[in-house]
């Protein structure tokens, strides 16, 4: 895992049991592939580290290797002292005391993201792909902290992005013929929008909407959003279309279950319409004109529905957006729930981005996509909390404050924990230098310390540079998270007295398929 720290090394190749090969670039994924070690005692420690790395990956999208390196350094330093007679409990409280000082110092040195250049540089260092890094930086810069992306995959090397004005959902035409042959989309200008949270099987279900749209004083196209429509409904729409009575189109959203319900509610909010369903007490058959939403434009393609300029109440939309932001603060930094909330928030804010990625092979494509998703999450986190100098430099700059925390230790022996943490804070820097391969970590550290604060080792050039000016920055969110996780994992290891192991004959070496 330590080998993946920084941009200097290439991916780790994992040979699967079925003979296929995958390329791994992040410590979190590497940890997940290791499911068991041959030695029972080693296996227990490895699994704790695995758990640390995977949790880091899940929660922050990045920083798993840093956390692993830090945890390893803390344990190594601490074991020396425990063997010399230091009480592990005092060591633990000392570590936690030092951690508080380190976190405060990290927060103090954090700066807001100054430009797209910062974002691009971070994404580039995470992905090792300059072009991808620049595109991700641009997307987050333009869309802001509520940024949400959908990814389109291509089977040839390709990278581009598209910004979608308005709200965009994965969707499909409800029947063949909704989009004429030879066309890629249907555009409706100033459509009325009927939203149904139930299948529309009978012509009576759409008759009121058609009549409203066809009124001489109205004469507007009609967009119907419903899970499914019956054949006779499709025929009814075709007849109305052919006779020029109403230009109507039916779209189905691709979401299912509770996600479909929330998506329909969002469309209703954005367009000032009501979601119709017998279960909700709003039957499509008793539709009133005020229950129809409207927008400046709606576009249905074979895989998406975009609504631009919805007629929704801005105050209500802002309230819903705030609710979503509040929910975001309560969700795990990396989770499907969070992605869904961010996508909804982006729709309410009026824009999403489509990231278009292609590669030579499926393996390469999956890797590139995974890197993009990981970097994207880290970038949005950066916008939230700010950035610190990268390349392990931020941890180096914490050491003085951590050492100073010795003076405020409440109990004798705690200072050992503080010292352990202070010493371990050089580990990420040293590992990065080691991964670069051309400099000795101790010499590079001495060289760095001879410069003022903010200088560090650029592993791409092998020189000491001002990290911020060279765009070598890390997310405060991830930097703090890695240190907290490392201390937490180390404390668990150091304070464990007894390990219960399974018998040898009940174990067998396994690898992931």
């Amino acid at each position: 895992m330590a080998l993946t720290l920084g941009p200097a090394n290439g991916p780790v190749m994992n040979a699967r049991e079925d003979g296929s090969v995958e390329l791994l670039t992040d410590a979190g994924s590497i940890a997940r592939r290791i499911v068991e070690m041959p030695d029972r005692g080693r296996n227990t420690g490895a699994m704790m580290l695995r758990n640390l790395a995977w949790r880091m990956h899940e929660q922050y999208g990045d920083g798993a290797a840093t956390a692993a390196v830090l945890a390893n350094a803390i344990v190594r330093e601490a074991v020396k002292r425990i063997e010399a007679g230091v009480d592990p409990v005092h060591l633990r409280t000392g570590l936690e005391h030092g951690l508080g000082a380190a976190l405060a110092e990290l927060e103090g040195m954090a700066e807001p993201v100054k430009s797209m250049k910062d974002l691009s540089a971070t994404a580039t260092s995470m992905t090792g792909d300059l072009e991808l890094g620049n595109v991700l930086g641009e997307i987050v810069d333009i869309l802001g902290p509520a940024a949400a992306i959908t990814i389109e995959e291509f089977s040839v090397p390709f990278l581009d992005r598209e910004y979608v004005e308005g709200a965009y959902w994965r969707a499909h035409p409800a029947a063949r013929g909704m989009i004429p042959e030879g066309r890629t989309e249907v555009m409706l200008e100033r459509p009325l929008i009927m939203l149904a949270d139930q299948d529309l099987d009978d012509v009576d279900d759409i008759q009121p909407a058609l009549e409203i749209a066809a009124r001489p004083d109205c004469k507007r196209p009609l967009l119907i959003v419903a899970p499914k429509v019956g054949d006779n409904v499709v025929q009814m729409i075709a007849v109305n279309q052919t006779r020029g009575v109403v230009n109507a189109v039916v779209a189905g959203l691709n979401s299912i279950g509770i996600e479909l319900t929330t998506d329909l509610d969002d469309v209703a909010l954005l367009t000032n319409g009501n979601v119709l369903a017998e279960m909700r007490g709003t039957s499509p058959r008793q539709l009133q004109p005020a229950q129809l939403g409207s927008a400046r434009k709606a576009m249905l393609t074979r895989d998406s529905l975009t609504v631009v300029g919805g007629n929704g109440d801005p105050t209500l939309i802002a309230e819903r957006a705030q609710e979503l932001r509040n929910q975001l603060t309560r969700t795990a930094p990396v989770s499907k729930e969070r992605d869904a909330l961010q996508l909804r928030l982006a729709r309410l804010n009026g824009g999403t981005a489509i990231l278009k990625i292609g590669a030579h092979s499926r393996t390469e494509l999956v890797q590139r996509r995974s890197e993009a998703e990981k970097a994207f999450r880290a970038l949005t986190g950066m916008l939230d909390e700010g950035v610190v100098p990268g390349g392990g430099t931020a941890y180096l700059q914490c050491r003085d404050k951590v050492r100073a925390a010795r003076e405020t230790c409440a109990l004798a022996g705690q200072e050992h924990g503080v010292d352990v943490l202070a010493a371990s804070l050089t580990a990420p820097f040293a590992q990065l230098v080691r991964n670069h391969g051309s400099a000795h970590p101790a010499l590079a550290l001495a060289d760095t310390e001879s410069h003022s604060a903010g200088f560090g080792f650029d592993v791409l050039t092998g020189s000491i540079v001002n990290m911020r000016e060279h765009g070598i920055i890390d997310s405060l969110h991830v930097t703090k998270g890695a240190l907290q996780s490392a201390v937490s994992a180390a404390v668990a290891l150091l304070t464990t007295n007894v390990v219960i192991l399974p018998a040898d004959d009940k174990r067998e070496h396994r690898a992931t398929p």
Partner: protein
């Protein structure tokens, strides 16, 4: 068959306003109300092509063999220097295209932008064949002009300020301190500054990072600049409607007025400058010191002919009607109503009806029109004696007159939202009196024409759909003829209908001179001497891709060509 002889009339003193210019290898293209014409020193003017109707070309641009023309409802593309045009897919965004901007890597990536007045900015990634909106962050969709700097930096001039895109037009941000200002046009200068032209105000020079600006004091304070261009070598040209044409050779610090006449379009290459004053086109080969007026551009915007008793009316969507008499005299260029015109129909001896955005106008004596109905957008009308009907393109009302068009009454259109593409009164075979009404609507989504029939003009019966990619339906009352796509149906003397498939395109106009039927297709002129039973080509040596309309006048077949040229067959 003996070879036809034609007599030519040219209306080169009327119209010909140049809206836009583009320079390419060996020549210049001029866009105006009548389409796009090309000029070269060796060949002179090549008239516009008629295969795609270009009613009002506002913008032109040429790069790497691709010529783009923006008109009032979309974009067309030519890859052979304007000889032929293809429609482009604008994804339903049919707003007027005001300007183009090519990516510096257009040859490799095919990326360009088009600004529109109503649909914002459109972006192409396939060399201009298809365009999609790219308006993220663009608060104003009325975009007047675009300027693309090196790499991916583009600025859009809108009716409410400037917007900058750092990523090739994918997303936009307001340029600070420009909110609420109407900008007409803009250009990047060689030193990286941006020269912009606010409407009826002194031009402004923005710093390369667009954070600061200063007025260009060397130019008049009431400058209404509509065209700015930076030529190879750094020469900057600025044309305005009131203050004329100006030039600067020192990055907009000092300016010299080249002429005082209004100048709406200006362009050039390393050797020549072309500028469009209010009427015509001028060329300079000495950096603007001396100018030569080029021959009048063939951009007269005539599209239709309507034969009356003693004259033939010639008019266009954006051209006021003129009367062309058989002795060659021309009368009238006054407005009947506000542009554009949607159609002209003869409603009696010596009189005609014109449809405009303000309703129907009746012409009876002289060229002065009289407002007779407020229904706007009528594209189809038909008369039989004093009875007449008129219908709008989409929705609206079906109008009815019993007094030759002097008074009208309306009823809701029975055709719904589908565009009405034909309306024809069909007389009885026996007595020539009113027999029934025939109408046709076009369903663009299904690409089909539906023919409707009514015996009284009130109750309509829809017929079967006919698939055709063409929304053109031509009709004639006497003899009764209807075309749908390339199929011509002609009523025979026994009341039966004879159907013939003629050519591969659709028909624009049918006329009958008493013995021969003529059918003008998009790309050919056909004749039938046997009431539509057999057809043959009748366009030897005619420029088939420049034909717009046909009419029988003074017993002779007349043919209207692009560029304001009228041919009369004399033998």
């Amino acid at each position: 068959m003996t070879k036809s002889k034609w007599e030519l009339f040219a209306f080169d003193r009327i119209g010909g306003w140049v809206n836009s210019l583009a320079v390419g290898p060996g020549g210049v293209w001029a866009g105006g109300l009548g389409g796009v014409a090309r000029y070269s020193d060796a060949e002179g003017w090549s008239p516009p092509n008629s295969t795609i109707a270009l009613h009002c070309v506002i913008s032109l641009a040429y790069r790497e063999g691709v010529l783009l023309a923006g008109h009032e409802s979309g974009i067309v593309r030519s890859s052979d220097g304007g000889k032929t045009w293809e429609s482009t897919d604008v994804g339903g965004n049919f707003s007027t295209t005001t300007a183009f901007a090519f990516s510096p890597r257009f040859a490799e990536e095919g990326v360009a932008l088009a600004s529109t007045f109503g649909s914002g900015v459109l972006r192409t990634t396939d060399g201009g064949r298809s365009w999609r909106p790219s308006n993220f962050g663009l608060d104003d969709h009325e975009v007047m002009s675009l300027a693309w700097q090196a790499r991916e930096s583009v600025v859009a001039a809108t009716q409410s300020g400037l917007f900058h895109s750092p990523n090739g037009g994918r997303a936009w941000r307001t340029v600070p301190n420009t909110n609420g200002i109407v900008f007409n046009t803009l250009t990047w200068l060689p030193d990286g500054a941006l020269l912009t032209a606010p409407n009826m105000d002194r031009p402004r020079l923005f710093s390369p990072d667009l954070t600061e600006w200063e007025p260009v004091d060397a130019l008049p304070g009431t400058m209404d600049a509509w065209s700015i261009t930076t030529l190879p070598g750094g020469m900057i040209l600025l044309g305005g409607g009131i203050r004329g044409l100006w030039v600067s050779a020192d990055s907009a610090r000092s300016w010299t007025q080249l002429w005082q006449r209004g100048c709406w379009s200006v362009t050039g290459d390393g050797e020549r400058i072309f500028a469009g004053p209010s009427n015509g086109l001028a060329c300079s080969k000495d950096r603007g010191q001396t100018w030569t007026a080029l021959p009048h551009p063939p951009l007269q915007p005539f599209h239709w002919m309507l034969p009356l008793d003693d004259a033939i009316v010639i008019a266009g969507v954006n051209a006021d009607p003129i009367l062309h008499f058989s002795n060659g005299e021309i009368e009238g260029d006054d407005h009947l109503g506000p542009l554009p015109y949607f159609g002209f129909w003869k409603n009696g001896p010596g009189s005609f009806i014109a449809s405009t955005e303000s309703g129907l106008f009746l012409y009876e004596n002289g060229i002065e029109g009289q407002d007779v109905a407020n229904e706007d957008g009528c594209t189809q009308a038909t008369f039989l004696g004093d009875d007449g009907w008129a219908g709008a393109t989409s929705g609206g009302q079906l109008l009815r007159t019993h007094d030759g068009g002097r008074t009208w009454s309306g009823s809701p259109s029975p055709f719904g939202n589908l565009p009405l593409v034909a309306l024809q009164a069909i007389p009885n075979l026996e007595d020539g009196q009113f027999g029934y009404l025939m109408a046709a609507t076009y369903d663009e989504r299904n690409r089909s024409v539906k023919v409707w029939r009514s015996d009284d003009g009130e109750r309509w019966t829809p017929g079967a759909d006919s698939y055709t990619p063409w929304s053109l339906v031509a009709t004639l009352g006497e003899p009764a003829v209807v075309t749908v796509g390339s199929v011509i149906s002609t009523r025979q003397s026994d009341g039966t209908w004879n159907q013939s498939t003629v050519g591969e395109t659709a028909f624009r106009r049918l006329v009958f001179d008493g013995s021969t039927l003529y059918a003008l297709a998009v790309d050919a002129l056909w004749r039938s001497d046997h009431y539509g039973k057999t057809w043959s080509r009748d366009d030897d040596e005619l420029p088939t891709n420049e034909m717009l309309d046909i009419a029988i006048f003074d017993g002779k077949l007349h043919l209207l060509l692009t560029g304001g040229r009228l041919l009369a067959r004399v033998s």
